[in-house]
Symmetry: C2
Subunit: 332 residues, 2 copies
């Protein structure tokens, strides 16, 4: 049969990424294709199946054999039904039994997980969370996601279909409106979406002063990365936005550390690439909003796995599921 | 030897309460004396020892025998050293090895716990938290304390010497100053202390309009209970304060439900007597600040044990400790 391997999948709004992962969390092969979700769930699923088949061949060429699949999906997942319940970034997938389709087509067991939880499992396995019993995970992307690791295990709460949604903690009841409809959520201060909305608003209000940010705006080529580059180029408006991002993250994390009696957080996601612009304000805010811990006692770490965190977490779940089945079959 | 019993102690700034408690969480006898902490730690400790002796006699008169003592103390406790590390309400006790003194004098094992944690253990054992796997506990008193119950057990986090300190979550960064030195903590909105400070400030600023609250203020006889009675008598200023209390509690609990993926809270403490004045605003605020749960899915329960919650939780800890010792001795 060859060395056992699994596939780890990260299914995002823009890209699907599939990797062959061994039992040590080593990525042996990695493929990345456009999600093309606008073609509908069935088409996207077929593309994913074909990518998986290719990587299963690659595993064989490495002398291995794929025994299971783990998949992280941006959105609300029904893990037991293998269903994408609701995904704002993959709307065509809503209600689609993606896990079951993959199982049928590939003849392999599939486990699914929300991508922020998968991020947590990945960083816990072979990333910045390794060896830390209790920590808060934050993913900074279009939105702000999160997860909790307690006692070295992912926390699932009451299994209500959401958990770790730090992006929708209120950090300032008088703060900006959030995409979720509430006011003052962390996500309304600290996501790529909130950066873009803030620049839009400043421009519409005629408050976007001349500078790198204004230039990018005029060219109609503004992205979250562009806001970051503008900040690096010294644009004060852009720097203020990253300051606000760090300030809001500090309030949310200080509150969670205070209530949970813990002191570690791991931050990942695409926008964490702007680390040097927000980590200073974040640490100041954490100190300013904490009654019980001194600044140096609170550890805010950058995720170590970059874009591969969710994919590795999904792979870990596949390994875990295989081991549990193995244990059960030995008993039977 | 007679039926095994334990003593549960609640050591507060004003009163010490000691009870004989059986293994079902039934209070068989209860004594209450003034803490008289101004006489110093040693005197207060001697009074407590004498009260314990009296209740041990009572246990014997009931055909029982006391095997251990559990004690809830307002403040930061070193459980392993039996020390009151820091107690704002019992300043003379700071650094005092109260647990060890009690053990020596009474010849019984003593376990200590922070009073908000003891509240949680009590309500979990025989109160409103019974049978609920995951919940947030809040104690409304001079300050605001709290605890977390996860998987039916008290959560201790990283064992940093504090946990569940919901009173010092920031609910409004522009909010009022807190006794802890920060700005906008839950405690600065939702404690007896914050009620009193708000009335003081209104009076000093000449903004305390005529009415029951003003009358109580003029008489110099204002207490948190007086603010509550004024609200019941229709005083708008007093009602606004309880509205603010509920609003702030709603923000804090909504944030914790969202991140923890849970939906139950239990509220106790002396100020929870004003339940009918703050629960409506609390529930509105909870709905207004929650992205993931509808109003009817969130369960905010009133503690069932009143003043006896911490004392019963302390007794439960004593039982647990005795059972663990029993189990160990059986193995040895």
């Amino acid at each position: 049969m060859g060395e056992p391997m699994v596939l780890g999948i990260d299914l995002g709004g823009t890209h699907m990424r599939v990797a062959v992962v061994d039992s040590n969390g080593e990525i042996l092969r990695l493929g990345k294709i456009h999600s093309n979700i606008h073609l509908g769930a069935r088409q996207a699923c077929l593309r994913l199946i074909s990518e998986c088949r290719m990587l299963m061949d690659e595993a064989r060429s490495l002398g291995g054999s794929v025994f299971g699949i783990g998949m992280g999906v941006a959105g609300k997942i029904d893990r037991h039904r293998g269903e994408v319940v609701f995904s704002p970034n993959l709307p065509a997938m809503n209600g689609y039994l993606l896990g079951i389709e993959l199982e049928k087509s590939l003849g392999l067991p599939v486990v699914m997980e929300n991508d922020a939880n998968a991020f947590g499992i990945g960083e816990n396995w072979v990333g910045s969370g390794r060896g830390i019993a209790n920590w808060v995970g934050v993913t900074l992307g279009t939105g702000v996601g999160g997860c909790l690791v307690f006692g070295g295990e992912l926390w699932r709460g009451d299994d209500l279909g959401f958990v770790g949604e730090i992006g929708h903690m209120i950090v300032d009841p008088q703060g900006p409106s959030c995409a979720c409809g509430l006011q003052g959520c962390l996500e309304a201060h600290s996501s790529a979406g909130s950066l873009m909305r803030a620049v839009e608003k400043a421009a519409t209000d005629g408050l976007l002063s001349r500078g790198p940010l204004h230039d990018r705006w005029v060219k109609g080529a503004l992205t979250a990365e562009g806001v970051y580059l503008s900040a690096k180029e010294g644009d004060l408006g852009a720097r203020r936005l990253f300051h606000r991002m760090g300030w809001a993250l500090g309030i949310a994390l200080a509150g969670l550390f205070t209530v949970l009696g813990i002191r570690h957080a791991v931050i990942g996601g695409g926008v964490s690439a702007a680390w040097d612009e927000f980590i200073g304000p974040l640490r100041s805010s954490l100190a300013e909003h904490s009654s019980f811990l001194a600044s140096e006692e609170m550890m805010v770490l950058r995720g170590a796995l970059g874009d591969n965190a969710a994919l590795l977490g999904a792979a870990k779940l596949a390994w875990k599921s295989l081991c549990e089945k193995e244990a059960t079959s030995e008993i039977l």
